[in-house]
Amino acid sequence: MLFTWCMLGGLIFLFAPETWTSKFQFAFTRIFSWPLSVSRVVSLSARTQQQPTDVVGYSQYNQLQNHLANLTAELNQERQKVRTLSGLRDRRPALEGAGLVLADVITSSVGGLQNALIVNRGANDGLAKGQFVLADNSVIGTISTVASRTAEIKLITDPTSKIPVEIAELNVSRIMQGTGKYSARIQMLSIKHRVRVGDSVYACKKPGFLDTPLIVGKVAKCIRDDENPSVWDITVKPACDIEGLNSVAVLIMNPQK
C-alpha cells in the first residue's frame, strides 16, 4: 500500500505540467542558494588549482592583482549606475533597442548528461524561454525554463542544445549541437566550404530573440566525417570559459518599458 501511494505521487509529478513542477527545483536553488554558491566556489577553486600552466611571476601577479582591484571598483560603480539608471538594462551599438539583464550564477552543471546554469533572475526581471544568454560578449546558451525569480540556462555544450550558426564568412547556416564535453559539433557542412581551425562561429539571427549574429565559439577541430566523408565534422569550443562564469547577461530584444 505504501509503495502504491508513493508511486502514485511519483506519477502525478511525472505527468504534471512542467511549469508547476519546476517550482520545486527553483525553490531548492533559492532556499539553498548560499550552500550551493559555496559548493560552486569550492568546485571552481579546485579546478583552478588543477591548472599549473596558469602561473605568472610574483611581479606580474601583483600588477594583475592591482589591476583587478581597480577594475573591480570600476565594475561595482558601473553596476550601481546600471541598476539605478535602467533597471539592469545595458545597451550595445550592435543591439540597439535591446536590453541586457545581468544575472548571477547560483549553480552550474557542466559536463555530463546536462550542461546548464541556474541564475538568480526570472520572469519578474523580464526573462522568457528562448532568450539568448551572453557572457564575455559571446553567446553561451538560451533560457530553457523560467520561474518568477530564477531561470535555467541550457548551455551550447548541452547534448540537447541545437542552435543555428554560421561559420566566419561562409554564407551558410548549419545546426550546432552540444556534445556534453565542453564543446559543440557542426555537421552536414559540405567539404567544398573552406573551414579553418580558429574560424569564428556565430549564432544566426532569430527574429524576436537575436537581431544580429553574435559569436558563439571558435572552430577547434575540422575533420572529414567518418560516416560521410563529403561533409565536415567540426568541433567548436565556446568563446568564453563557461565553467568559470559567475555572472551572465540575458539578451532581451524588445524589453518592456
Partner: protein, 164 residues
C-alpha cells in the same frame, strides 16, 4: 530510522551533488551520491523505510537534475523497492556485491528515467547511455567506501560479513 538525520543527510548530498562532486569528474562521469544513498537505505533499512527513502531520494534527484520532475522519483522508487525486497532473499553485505548492485541499479534506474523523460518530450542526449554507464561504474567504485560513513551518521550497524 532517525528521519531528521536522514533529511539532513539528503540535503547535504543534494548540495554536494549539485557542485562539489564536479571536482571528482573523470571522463565526463561523476559519482552519483544519491544513487549511493538509495542502495545504502535499500540494503540496510527495513522494507517500509526503504520504500519511503527510495522515493524521497528519487524526488531529491529530480530536483537537482533540473529537467523534468518525476522520472527519477518513479525509477528510484521502483528500483529501491525492488532492491529492498531482493535483500530479504539475498544478502547484499560484501563490498563487491554492493558495488555490483550500485552499478546495476544506477544503469537500470537511469535507463528507466531516460525512458520516462522521453514520455514528457524531454530531449535525450546522444551519449546519454555512455554517461549513465560511466556514472554507474564510478558510483559503484566509490559507494561501498561511503557506507561506513553513512551508517555512522544514521546510527545503523553495518555488517560486512555473514547474515545478521
Amino acid at each position: 530510522m532517525n528521519w531528521f538525520r536522514f533529511a539532513v543527510l539528503l540535503v547535504i548530498a543534494m548540495v554536494l551533488q549539485a557542485g562539489v562532486v564536479d571536482i571528482l569528474a573523470f571522463a565526463n562521469s561523476k559519482p552519483d551520491l544519491l544513487l549511493i544513498l538509495l542502495v545504502f537505505f535499500a540494503v540496510y533499512s527495513d522494507t517500509s523505510n526503504a520504500i519511503i527513502t527510495s522515493f524521497a531520494i528519487g524526488f531529491a534527484s529530480d530536483i537537482i537534475i533540473g529537467s523534468a520532475m518525476g522520472p527519477q522519483t518513479v525509477s528510484f522508487g521502483l528500483f529501491g523497492t525492488l532492491l529492498a525486497y531482493l535483500h530479504r532473499v539475498v544478502a547484499i553485505k560484501k563490498m563487491h556485491y554492493q558495488s555490483l548492485v550500485i552499478a546495476l541499479t544506477g544503469f537500470l534506474a537511469g535507463t528507466l528515467a531516460l525512458f520516462l523523460s522521453s514520455l514528457k518530450d524531454q530531449p535525450i542526449a546522444p551519449n546519454a547511455f555512455t554517461i549513465l554507464l560511466g556514472t554507474s561504474i564510478y558510483s559503484a567504485v566509490v559507494g561501498p567506501f561511503l557506507f561506513s560513513l553513512l551508517s555512522w551518521w544514521i546510527r545503523m550497524t553495518v555488517h560486512r560479513f555473514g547474515r545478521h
